[in-house]
Subunit: 454 residues, 2 copies
């Protein structure tokens, strides 16, 4: 099937996950482990994130297995013993997953995903789960900021050429669609995810004709219902004039578009709007592109630039000012026992958890705490015993959640500059447990010397 | 075969490339086009880049074709006419490619790749070629800066969990290996590219045992020849002591390692070194990790921290301070005619080119200019008539080129902070041609009104 991971199989993980899993299997350590996947802190300048990546995680877990080639590599290159290889050959993901659905606005410290499974299985999944959620959540948040900045103007994903790889481009098209983008230039992504595909023409098309008006006429002849003229190859004023003349002479049926890709976009948009209106093309659309992000879009909106749609590329597609999130996948419980680490600056609360969203913000609790009045649980079961609890949901569901959550965000949280994230409170029971586990670990550190101590 | 692109076929491109190609085919515009792929300007803080991504480009071009499913999408969703679909069904990449080999140090304005092919074919390849070269060149440069900072200490790619997607992780492992990294934690990449795989253990392993010494003993029992103990789960001093005790009690055969992953790495490394030396484990290695990049590594080296190897993850894997390059794929000639655009701030020299490297820097020339004395051409033929000119080269060839080029870089160019890039000169003939094409375009802009003008 198209669109499966490029290297299916169990080697898509860090070697240490494999080594740990091998060790667990060899020692018959089959206890249930719960891992929490969360973002430790928001990047500077981010007031919120948008959960994304879950669909790829579920597909990965559902398909997880070792191919004969994987096992052969582990035998020859890593010298795994035959017994371990036989155990790995049989290994599938058989655990449960609870997650915050895609499209929801989320904050630092909230588990986006909790995996409960035999520890070897949960450990092997760490790398890919972190990869999908970290990247896609970062991009969905960046795209959502562009949507907020655009104040209703349409956004199109133009990022394919500069995303960090090919599957990143597919993920960006999908994540930006969740966040509210109207279309993508990425044809493969449009096909795969059922998105609207959008595109205009490149400067090279005009240069190949040599004559801008001839190029416009040719393109409009071939694509009369969807013509957007790229106006800045030689001179934007002349480009708009040529677009107008071609539109008139060919009597194009639908509204045409004019795309501005360089220069002072606000001034050029005003000029183009005036020229188009004067020519009786009040329904013609103006599309702006070129190094745009939420800050540039907000500036154009603030300047009153008459721009109908923005092509947003690289800076959204790599989340340029926050290209990664400080994500973690931490063991929270093993074999019925809550655990945590004490590493400097990297502690996290123990135990399986729930996040409740209420009118006063979010509350992080233990999984089995009753919901506070008027609050909604964010983590829901998405996989049981290795199978998804339901068929993949349509993208529209995630889009709708994102739209609703963005609309409900207080202005200080959704602010593009110096936002103030929603505070995440920790329940009393969770605090008590965290203190108790910390005390126990500190006491052990003082007195316990381990079985090998003399 | 494993490792092919996740969505093979001709839809892996922006819609406008398809629309332009369809238009060219319909109009029988089959003239040869030359496109130059180059980086317009270096990102702030970069004195050089390292060419990478070519191998993926060649594979893409060699495999390029439209599947029946691709054509069905274009028929139904994009309403392409049957004649165009038949032309696309037959379309393969039949052109020539000249490129700067992977691993070479390169600068802004130098074509990393020049494609000469019937214009529809060359146009369709734009998006994926830009994607591979932009990302992989950015990461190889970032990795090379880490190598320079480490002054001979070993580097290991730990980035898989936070790269922007799965194929990005594979590409990062390979690009960082080209730049001089010794190993990767990414098992799939190690298998695919024949790299050394490296890995230690995670905090979760220790937490699952509850007792650090028991965990160390178990792991060392399972992997006696490759044990690196993660020391900071609870307290680094105690962790190192436990590592020493386990190493002694189990009489481990090879040199062990101790990994420090949080806190003041320089101070902890000194402490660990002293403890290991005192315990008679002078051959034990110290591995540092945790938010490292070239700046952090340089600071640790400058502080004289006794660190033998660095695990470098996210910041290298997403090229965090320069997550994209200002790359372009520009039509330079069509049908024997040199072309360029005049768009504000985005012009580039016309014509097919060569880059000559000499003792005084690099010279950008027209393709057919004779080499200046003592200079070496950087662009070499890599594909003729759609077929690679040779079998894929071993990664060692790119590694060796990178090592040699880095060794030859002047200190000001290789400086981590405020570097001064090598100046790229433009030959007189290229300058004259650029002036002439600019003049011609400006004159046209003044006098020519196109065939539709009244």
């Amino acid at each position: 099937m198209r669109g499966r991971p490029i290297v299916p199989g169990g080697l898509l993980t860090d070697l240490y996950e494999l080594n740990m899993a091998a060790s667990y299997l060899r020692r018959s350590m089959t206890g249930q482990a719960t891992f929490s996947l969360f973002i430790r802190t928001l990047p500077p300048g981010r007031g919120f994130l948008v959960a994304a990546g879950l669909a790829d995680c579920l597909r990965f877990l559902e398909d997880f297995s070792f191919t004969a080639d994987d096992l052969s590599y582990l035998r020859l290159a890593q010298e795994y013993p035959e017994k371990t290889l036989r155990q790995l050959a049989r290994l599938r993901f058989t655990g449960d997953v609870r997650a915050i659905p895609e499209g929801r606005v989320v904050f630092a410290g909230e588990p986006l995903l909790e995996v409960t499974a035999p520890i070897a299985e949960a450990q092997l999944a760490e790398t890919v789960l972190l990869n999908h959620v970290t990247f896609q959540t970062a991009v969905a948040a960046k795209a959502a900021r562009c949507v907020l900045a655009a104040r209703g103007a349409q956004l199109v994903d133009f990022s394919f050429r500069r995303t960090q790889g090919i599957d990143a481009a597919l993920a960006v098209a999908r994540a930006s669609a969740i966040a509210g983008f109207a279309a993508t230039s990425n044809t493969a992504a449009a096909h795969r995810y059922g998105l609207a595909a959008a595109g205009t023409m490149a400067h090279s098309y005009i240069e190949a004709f040599g004559d801008e008006q001839a190029a416009f006429a040719a393109f409009a002849g071939d694509f009369p219902a969807m013509t957007t003229f790229l106006a800045d190859t030689y001179d934007t004023g002349r480009g708009v004039r040529n677009a107008i003349e071609v539109t008139r002479c060919l009597r194009l049926p639908g509204p045409v578009g004019v795309r501005l890709d360089s220069g002072d976009l606000a001034a050029l948009a005003r000029m183009a709007r005036a020229m188009l209106d004067e020519a009786g093309l009040a329904d013609a659309k103006i599309v702006a592109s070129g190094s745009l992000d939420e800050y540039a879009i907000a500036a154009l909106v603030a300047a009153g630039a008459p721009i109908d749609a923005y092509g947003v590329g690289t800076k959204m597609g790599v989340s340029a000012d926050a290209p990664y999130l400080d994500s973690a996948y931490k063991l929270a419980a093993y074999d019925g026992r809550p655990v945590m680490k004490l590493s400097a600056g990297k502690t996290s609360p123990p135990g399986a958890k729930q996040v409740y969203r209420g009118p006063d913000g979010d509350l992080l609790t233990l999984q089995d705490e009753p919901p506070p009045p008027g609050c909604q649980p964010l983590l829901v079961p998405v996989m049981r015993q290795g199978r998804p609890v339901s068929a993949p949901e349509p993208l529209a569901a995630a889009q709708q959640r994102c739209r609703a959550d963005l609309a409900g965000l207080p202005p200080a949280v959704r602010a593009l500059r110096d936002p103030v994230p929603v505070p995440v409170q920790i329940s009393d029971r969770l605090k008590i447990l965290q203190d108790q586990v910390t005390r126990d670990l500190r006491r052990q550190a003082g007195i316990q010397r381990g079985p090998l101590a003399s």
